[in-house]
Symmetry: C2
Subunit: 203 residues, 2 copies
């Protein structure tokens, strides 16, 4: 299998983090430069369908984009440590928290960065008001996570799951526009410090 | 099991549509009025954690919100017809297309409606520029689906999957602000007409 990867982007980082937690070392990682437009070449689009990263290419040539689809597929091949749930009920709870982390925090912060920061202007038409709205939406939702992390060491279960990885990467990406969780969100900050110390955080 | 449901909102409609396709008739459906703020009462929040609909309450009292987490859980109990994939590879492809349908179309259209239409002003601070940006983003992404539906009767497989349901409901919701797929998207419109004729569309 091959993973088409981009270094700064948040979605490829999810896959690298999952691979690190699972100790997956036999996937070939192929860097694709977004600043150089390599994700928009005819060759890449013929495989991916859309200018999206990451992309996983299976040994039979099947390609999938979308980080969480890739991560769940990797879990089917490398089941431990379990990140998506061990039975339907736990899977549902983890998916609920993963979606909350993504839709309330990671996606707004991603748009908040991409539409606001001048470094992205060559890739996407800037929309500063839309970016600012998204930044505020993400910041506001951090309270939901802080409340949850006041009653649980991790977001969705009594162990690390994909929900923690999605949330931590979403929050980290907002550092590009100097957004950080307010200090009073003590539970969130305790968890975030622990997440950043995991080997997967550096993957 | 009980499903807490709201009539107009797009996310509860996903669950009702899935239940109709699977012929699930033994889940008690409890209407919750968003205009009357019933999703923000202390009693509802004690169960759901957030003012989100739909919510599924299992027989053991476990509650989950997030429509797709609920739908996947229902599939574990009512496997046929299969909507999420029969093996890891098919599951990955269906999840990829479901995420594309959601992130490129359904979520932008939902925000495009909620932030723009005066009927939602009592529920959420209007942000017309953000709403307009989202409407345009969703409209632009319809071309991706049209291209896909030029080569496939359904979006993610050779049969109906959750990706079709998410996409059709996202497009339908945009009718509130009079957005419709352009006529030249002939593949998309052919598929949309067929989707609207399914019994699940009326659920």
């Amino acid at each position: 299998m091959k993973l088409y990867d981009a270094p700064v982007a948040p979605n490829p980082r999810r896959v690298r983090w999952v691979m690190a937690e699972k100790g997956i070392a036999d996937v070939e990682v192929i860097p694709v430069s977004i600043p150089d437009g390599e994700h928009k070449t005819a060759g890449y689009l013929a495989k991916a369908g859309l200018p999206q990263l990451p992309m996983l290419e299976m040994d039979d040539g099947t390609t999938i984009t979308e980080s969480l689809a890739i991560c769940r597929y990797l879990e089917s091949l490398y089941p431990e440590p379990n990140l998506f749930g061990r039975d339907p009920k736990e899977t549902a709870i983890i998916e609920m928290w993963t979606r909350r982390a993504e839709m309330l925090i990671a996606t707004p912060f991603m748009l908040g960065v991409r539409l606001s920061h001048p470094g992205f202007a060559a890739l996407e038409a800037p929309a500063p008001e839309v970016g600012a709205w998204n930044q505020q939406a993400g910041l506001k939702a951090l309270k939901v996570l802080d409340r949850r992390l006041g009653e649980s060491a991790f977001i969705a279960a009594d162990r690390l799951t994909i929900a923690d990885i999605v949330a931590a990467i979403g929050i980290d990406f907002a550092r590009i526009v100097r957004l950080r969780p307010p200090e009073e969100l003590t539970h969130l900050n305790r968890w975030l410090t622990a997440m950043r110390e995991r080997p997967g955080a550096k993957a």
